[in-house]
Chain length 100, copies 2
DNA sequence: GATATATTTAGATGTTTAGCTAAGCAAAGA
DNA sequence: TCTTTGCTTAGCTAAACATCTAAATATATC
């Protein structure tokens, strides 16, 4: 699965986008995040792992808790993808590198 | 289904993103698009209808053909969504309007 | 080390989705 | 108006996905 695929896939779910919005405000533990939703903790945990695989968030352990935080660099990449898209480049494949 | 949801959903499929890349080069008929893929025409037609519902493309009939073209304005909206995301706004809901 | 708390992993289930084939609809031309 | 061409709609299947409950793991505390 290409990097872009996993990113767009991750962003396609509303629950995951909502998690990202919360994390934009500041770091949160898995439990704190789960508390904001009505779905179960395991479900949230699953969403978190998808976001993590897509490199949109990262996690670190702090005692009993696992703290999640936003990876803004990947958002920058996506932003660039869209900007390039609206530019005047050739079609090419997913992993196109252009001028870089 | 919210507008953002349909947009992200539409972008989550690699075939659909590839269609968008082709259309970025210029307008194409449904047949011309389908010819670039190995999957069947009905499948492509289905993807086109999803992209259309998400307002990422538009279509018009030209004789026997149906011509598809990219709606760049929606891409601008998405670009803005990401830019806002990396900004310093409150979490709020999907359809947030901000300064507008 | 036993127990409590925080979170993840495993396994099951209902729903969504991408793909197919077959049938339908619309325009063009005989 | 019958046929051909271009494309979509309908109906199906298999795979993917979101969610749940139950069990497992890891850390902290007693």
């Amino acid at each position: 699965m290409t990097k872009q695929q996993s990113t767009f896939q991750a962003l396609s779910d509303p629950t995951r986008r909502r998690i990202l919005r919360y994390l934009r405000e500041g770091d949160l533990t898995a439990g704190e995040i789960a508390a904001k939703f009505t779905i179960t903790k395991p479900s949230i945990s699953h969403h978190l792992s998808i976001l993590k695989q897509a490199d949109l968030i990262s996690d670190r352990r702090s005692g009993q808790n696992i703290v999640y935080s936003l990876n803004t660099t990947v958002f920058q990449d996506i932003l660039k993808w869209f900007a390039d898209f609206l530019g005047t480049e050739g079609p090419g494949g997913e992993g196109q590198k252009k001028g870089k």
